[in-house]
Structures are given as structure tokens and as C-alpha cells.
């Protein structure tokens, strides 16, 4: 009776078998350290530079603008702290949004303690930032604007190109966290006026533990890891060659399949959204109906709590996630949902369903069959109004 349906691709993805295959030689056979002068090292060095070209290509950057890191969290930390410390003589003001990932929010809080000033911009009910707000908030001391591209929770895609243009005109550095969008929707750092961009391998069918930060040539930035001087002196650490090879292979596949995959995903997603909203009373979509990641659907259901829904689904073999307070380590509802104007109890009943490369119509149909039953059951237990 129990199935195995993974609908939590926004959390992490399985590694594509084609990626695994590309990585395998780089564990025991081609294991060299890129810093070594001998042929083992040089072989590693060469494959590193080849991989850099592939990753750069997918965002239309130059290879020497890609810095490999260990995670998107690290990339985001490097972007914020690196820009802050390199430019503090110019000013100490940074602008972010209220729906950034925790690693941006926490880095900003830490920078605040170091004497930087942070402006956190609000979003509308769909999670969209008004570019005009950015324009108004930039002042002489502003050194960085950091806005997430596609929301990891509600899927909303920000008008990055417009924001980039404003920042460029004002001469302010612009960073975007593209962890969820890179590989899923086309990105052109030049056209979009992006100075820094974070991307992650394990959200796009590559291995975990590898990510990158695009740093536009000429950008003033300080490293946060000091040591052997790898990655243009911006990220000292022995190079994770197998990881980078996997990341690059994942990029190659996305490069080839991005259009087709995007179309397939949007079709499945839109079906999922329309049927849920139709079949289940008192259900709503979080995030923007159109401007959203191809693979993200985020719902909320009145009168019930998200962890209960997630575990009920898990018992049937379906993996999804929630922004409910009960499920978080801090026992607080998702700051992203609250930023869109939801009340605590509304955020409580939220459910994120994220699709991926191996999601089938059959999976979605099964999900659509069992979800209404689960919601009904939990509402029966709830003390609140239940007009099912």
C-alpha cells in the first residue's frame, strides 16, 4: 500500500545517474590535488577548469567569474560578508528582502552586530518585491542589494532583471540567491545586471557539498576562508574535484533539458494546483499564480496543521514539506509565509509540494487522490469550523 513518491525536490534532489557516472573516476583513480605540480594534480586542475566553463555557461558568465564553494549557504555568506568587509569604507548599508533564505537573514543579523545597517524590504501578498522600494531605499552608503531569485518556499520569482538595472544605474552591487532557480529557468547574469549569484548543485540533480558563487569581474570582495588561496584567493580549501565534476555534469544536463523539463513541470504543477484548489474547500495557493518556479506549488489549508499533513502523507509514502511552526526547530512559523501577510494560524496549514525530473503524472494523480481524504480526516479532529 505504501508508495515511494518524492515531492520535495526543493529540499534536495537525487543525483542523476549520468552525474554519478561522470563523478566515479574522480574518487579513486583521478584523485589528485589541483595544487600539486605532478600529473595527478595537473589532471585535476584541468578538469576543474573545464568544469568551470560548463557551470559559467549555464548562467552566461565568464569562467574566471565562478568561485566554487561548499554550499549555497557558504556562497551567500561569502557574498554578504565578503562585499560588506571589502566595501565598508564606501558605506555600511545593505538591502535585503524579508523572504530571503535563513542564511541571508542570519548573515545580515551578524553583520548588523558588526556595525552594518540592514534594510529588510517587505513583499506583497504574492511574495513579490516592488523594485521601486529598492530604488527608494538605496542611499549613498548602500554597498549591496541581495534579493532571492526564486523563493525556496512559495516559489515566487522576483523581477531580477529590473532590480539589477536599478542597482547598476545607482552603482550598487547586486547579489541574488538563485539556489532554486539555477538550472530550472534560464539565467543570464549579463542581461540581468547581476554582480553576484549563488547556485547550488544538489538542487539540480548534482551532488551535495558543492555550490558556487558568481562574482562579476572587477567586484571588490574579501574572502571569508583564508588559506592556500584556491579559487582566485576567494575560497581557500582543497578543491572538491569529484563534486565539481558532478556539478558541471548536472549543469550540462540542465543546459540541454531546461526548456523541455520546464514545460513538463509547469504542466504538472498547474494541474496539481488547479485540482487541489477545486477539490479541497478552504484551500489556497501561497505565492504568485504565474510568476513562480516551474516545480513549486505551495498550498495552505484552513483549520489544520502542516506537520500532521506531512506525516499522514509520509505514512502513505509521499514526501512533502511544510512551513508550520510545529515542524520548525524554533517552533516559529515560516518567516516567508508571515511576510506575505499570513497570520500564524494560516501559516500553520501550509504545504509545499515540489516536483522534479522524475515526477510522473501518475505520482500527481495518486497525490491528488489521497490528499483530500487526509485533509478531511484532520479537519474532523480539529476544533475549528469544518464545512467539508
Amino acid at each position: 500500500m505504501s508508495k515511494n513518491i518524492y515531492l520535495d525536490y526543493a529540499s534536495t534532489t537525487p543525483v542523476d545517474p549520468r552525474v554519478v557516472k561522470a563523478m566515479l573516476p574522480f574518487f579513486s583513480k583521478k584523485f589528485g590535488n589541483t595544487m600539486s605540480l605532478h600529473s595527478f594534480g595537473q589532471e585535476a586542475q584541468q578538469v576543474l577548469e573545464e568544469s568551470r566553463i560548463v557551470v559559467a555557461d549555464l548562467m552566461k558568465a565568464e569562467p574566471n567569474e565562478i568561485v566554487f564553494t561548499g554550499s549555497a549557504t557558504e556562497s551567500n555568506n561569502l557574498a554578504l560578508k565578503g562585499i560588506a568587509f571589502a566595501n565598508k569604507s564606501k558605506g555600511k548599508h545593505i538591502i535585503i528582502s524579508s523572504i530571503e533564505h535563513d542564511c541571508i537573514i542570519e548573515s545580515s543579523k551578524w553583520l548588523e552586530k558588526q556595525g552594518f545597517e540592514i534594510t529588510k524590504l517587505p513583499v506583497d501578498q504574492y511574495g513579490l518585491i516592488n523594485p521601486e522600494d529598492i530604488k527608494k531605499s538605496i542611499k549613498k552608503e548602500t554597498i549591496l542589494v541581495s534579493i532571492i531569485h526564486g523563493s525556496n518556499e512559495i516559489g515566487t520569482i522576483q523581477p531580477i532583471e529590473q532590480i539589477g538595472k536599478i542597482c547598476r544605474e545607482k552603482g550598487v552591487c547586486f547579489h541574488t540567491d538563485a539556489s532554486q532557480s539555477f538550472g530550472k529557468i534560464p539565467i543570464d547574469v549579463k542581461k540581468m545586471n547581476i554582480d553576484l549569484l549563488s547556485a547550488s548543485s544538489h538542487k539540480m540533480y548534482g551532488p551535495k557539498g558543492i555550490a558556487c558563487l558568481f562574482v562579476k569581474e572587477g567586484t571588490k570582495i574579501e574572502p571569508i576562508l583564508h588559506g592556500g588561496g584556491q579559487e582566485l584567493r576567494l575560497r581557500s580549501s582543497t578543491i572538491n574535484v569529484s563534486g565539481i565534476v558532478g556539478f558541471a555534469q548536472a549543469c550540462r544536463i540542465c543546459q540541454k533539458e531546461i526548456q523541455k523539463e520546464g514545460k513538463k513541470m509547469i504542466k504538472l504543477r498547474d494541474k496539481l494546483i488547479s485540482v487541489v484548489l477545486k477539490k479541497i474547500p478552504n484551500s489556497y495557493l501561497n505565492g504568485h499564480p504565474k510568476k513562480r518556479l516551474p516545480n513549486n506549488a505551495n498550498f495552505r489549508f484552513d483549520f489544520i496543521e502542516g506537520e500532521s499533513i506531512v506525516i499522514q502523507l509520509d505514512l502513505l509514502g509521499i514526501a512533502v514539506s511544510t512551513g508550520s511552526a510545529c515542524s520548525s526547530a524554533k517552533l516559529e512559523p515560516s518567516h516567508v509565509l508571515l511576510a506575505t501577510g499570513l497570520k500564524h494560524e494560516q501559516a500553520h496549514g501550509s504545504l509545499r509540494v515540489s516536483l522534479g525530473r522524475w515526477t510522473t503524472k501518475k505520482d500527481i494523480n495518486y497525490f491528488l487522490k489521497v490528499l483530500p481524504l487526509i485533509i478531511k480526516k484532520l479537519r474532523k479532529i480539529s476544533p475549528f469550523k469544518k464545512n467539508d
Binding site: 506537520e307 499522514q312 479532529i381 476544533p383 475549528f384
Partner: protein, 141 residues
């Protein structure tokens, strides 16, 4: 205490079972006492209904008990197990049920979920309190 890591988060199998097939949920028509509590930690709500009768010895007992819960897996599981423990007990005994007892009968809860079991224990105390105060006011009439 051994903890079985089931498929469902960090809950043990007993908790999952109680959550999956909760007993005694819903409302009681014309209850003798109602206790409603909110969870100050995460904002959840639990409502408990009791019906009181007398046993052969003439002691007041929890004849029927039902719950309604808006909350997490632990909140639903603790509500269910609480009703099972309390049913048939004298009010005096029932008042002694605390969250430690609830957790023990569930075979343990993840530390972060202990606060949910406090909710259940408090709801029962409140429902019995409500019964007493209704009776008092009846007597005073």
C-alpha cells in the same frame, strides 16, 4: 527507553499509531465539562469534552471523553492517549494525570514536542474544573 525511528519524523511507532488512528475524537453533545487550551509555544488549540457519571461506590467518574485538536502529530497523539487513559477513571484519579504519564504511555516524545503533552494534561484539568464549577453553581441555585 529504546526509540524506534519510524518513517514519520522522529516519532516512535506508538506515537505514530495513536496519531494515525486516534481514538475518541469529536464532540460530546451536552457535555458536563469542557476544557479548551491554547499552546503558548506554537499557537495550537485543544478542546476536551467530558461526560461525568457515578460508579457503584458513588464516586464521580469520567464516563465519556472526546477531544478536538488543531496541532501537530504529538498534539493529536497525546490527545488520543489522554482520552484513553482518563476514560473510566474517577475524577480524582483523572486529575492526577500529568504530562509525564502521558509521555510515558506513548513510550516517549521528541524533546521539542514535550510542550504538546502539557497541552493535553491541562485541557483535562480544565474540563474537570469546568464540571466542578458548573456543579457548584447548580448547588448554589
Amino acid at each position: 527507553m529504546t526509540k524506534i525511528i519510524s518513517k514519520a519524523g522522529s516519532y516512535n511507532q506508538k506515537v505514530v499509531k495513536c496519531f494515525k488512528n486516534p481514538k475518541n475524537y469529536g464532540q460530546i453533545k451536552n457535555p458536563d465539562g469542557v476544557g479548551e487550551v491554547g499552546n503558548p509555544v506554537c499557537g495550537d488549540v485543544m478542546k476536551l469534552y467530558i461526560k461525568v457519571a457515578k460508579n457503584k461506590k458513588g464516586e464521580e467518574i469520567v464516563k465519556d471523553i472526546k477531544f478536538e485538536t488543531f496541532g501537530c502529530v504529538a498534539a493529536i497523539a497525546t490527545s488520543s492517549i489522554l482520552t484513553q487513559i482518563a476514560k473510566g477513571k474517577t475524577l480524582k484519579e483523572a486529575l492526577k494525570i500529568d504530562n509525564k504519564k502521558i509521555i510515558k504511555s506513548l513510550g516517549g516524545l521528541p524533546p521539542i514536542k514535550v510542550h504538546c503533552s502539557v497541552l493535553a494534561a491541562n485541557a483535562l484539568k480544565k474540563a474537570i474544573g469546568d464540571y466542578y464549577s458548573r456543579n457548584d453553581s447548580k448547588k448554589n441555585e
